[in-house]
Point group: C2
Chain length 253, copies 2
């Protein structure tokens, strides 16, 4: 079992009193894409429902395994860490985290074998005060002050995403796939010499000083980091331009 799957196995997403079954399905899909699988539904208004299945797309397994309970205590009784999603300015003096900040305490709890729950309330009213009172902390997604109401499943997606990123240690993208080896400095200098000569042959400089333009072109091509094949293409272009220049001058070479 990978480190990630060991951690993710301890995490559950709890949706409390959800009104729209579509949001339940979309939330199931959201957590599934991030490698999580456990959903607990506290007193969902309409569930099961074809809308939930439709929005779950291929994540119907998460719905099939979802646990339905009548109250929040039943959903989190065995959890060592419980974090409730909130809009800000609540009357409770609960420790608050951004999604990125909550990763650490969640990971710490999961790593020491504890069960962890992230709890989301009803779409309109959120979590009740007595439900927040069961939480160790509150999570708030930084949002625009004048329009801070994320769709429920979107909020679940953002939390699941941050937890995935955290559990994976902030993965980075692989470098671009280059089939040919990058050109060496010596090959680049060969190219620049060829370019320099070709610009003269096609009378690009027109009597002006070539230094500035050559510096600009050096910067451009060095930044592009051409590989050997690309350099061959470029030099082929230069060679054909030079050939045209010779023909234009009447040479027969």
């Amino acid at each position: 079992m990978t480190h990630f799957s060991a951690l993710s196995a301890r995490l559950r997403f709890v949706l409390v009193r959800t009104s729209q079954p579509g949001n339940i399905g979309a939330a199931a899909r959201a957590i599934r894409t991030m490698g999580f699988a456990r959903l607990v539904l506290v007193a969902p208004q309409r569930y099961p429902d074809p809308e939930a299945t439709a929005f779950a797309a291929g994540a119907s397994g998460v719905l099939a395994d979802a646990v339905v309970v009548p109250d929040l205590r039943s959903a989190i009784g065995d959890c060592q860490a419980v974090y409730g999603a909130t809009a800000r300015q609540r009357a409770v003096a609960l420790q608050e985290f951004t999604p990125r900040e909550v990763v650490m305490p969640v990971q710490t709890a999961a790593q020491s074998g504890g069960e962890v729950a992230i709890v989301f309330g009803n779409e309109r009213t959120g979590l009740e005060n007595d439900e927040l009172a069961l939480c160790h902390g509150a999570v708030h997604i930084p949002a625009a002050a004048d329009y801070s109401s994320l769709n429920l499943a979107q909020a679940v997606q953002v939390l699941a995403y941050e937890l995935r990123m955290g559990f994976l240690g902030n993965p980075t993208a692989p470098p671009p796939h280059r089939t040919d080896p990058p050109a060496s400095a010596e090959q680049m200098e060969g190219f620049f010499a060829h370019l320099y000569a070709a610009l003269y042959d096609i009378d690009f400089h027109k009597g002006r000083s070539p230094e500035t333009i050559m510096l600009r072109l050096r910067k451009l091509f060095l930044r592009a980091q051409p590989d050997e094949r690309e350099l061959r293409v470029l030099r082929g272009i230069l060679a054909d331009a030079q050939r045209m220049a010779r023909l234009a001058r009447g040479d027969r070479k």
Copy 2:
């Protein structure tokens, strides 16, 4: 104009050949919650549509301002930086970024006054190769290998969220709201002395050595970081327990 609004003004989200108008509306809401406002729709299959308006919830302003164009070139022609969302393993050797990694080049471009576009393809087929060819880089959201297909609007939400976090310099949550001042070390020692005495009075130790238990209790209460009011409550409890102990011993004090 704040730094954030200056940056966000330069960012547009481009949806190409979207099939479901609901996804357009949900994407509009997704970007609005993160403080962005510019949506460009390239050849949407069904738009305008009541479903788009329904899913946009209160973000109908974003829809009202959305620009509809027939092809991707028209959507991004004036952009200095264009990033296309992709599922991995594409045949193109495009530089790839995670959402978190793409923040930097996006911010750099926006800060130097450039227009930036994040481009999303059709729900099922993504972006065509000739559309990706117009992009400076690809963005891929790290997802579960066996179920990597995020809903389109969810992918938009994640990108918008990371860009907001990046533009705001990774904001942190405020410390918990405490109305009373935290207890000083001297007040804590006064409490521990009181606790020590009270445990003796109620015969808690029962002949055992008190050091270990006192150390545990010190750790617990220091970790809880009580404020002055909480200490008064705790000491009130200790005082009442001591009073009971005196009554039980027959003292009349």
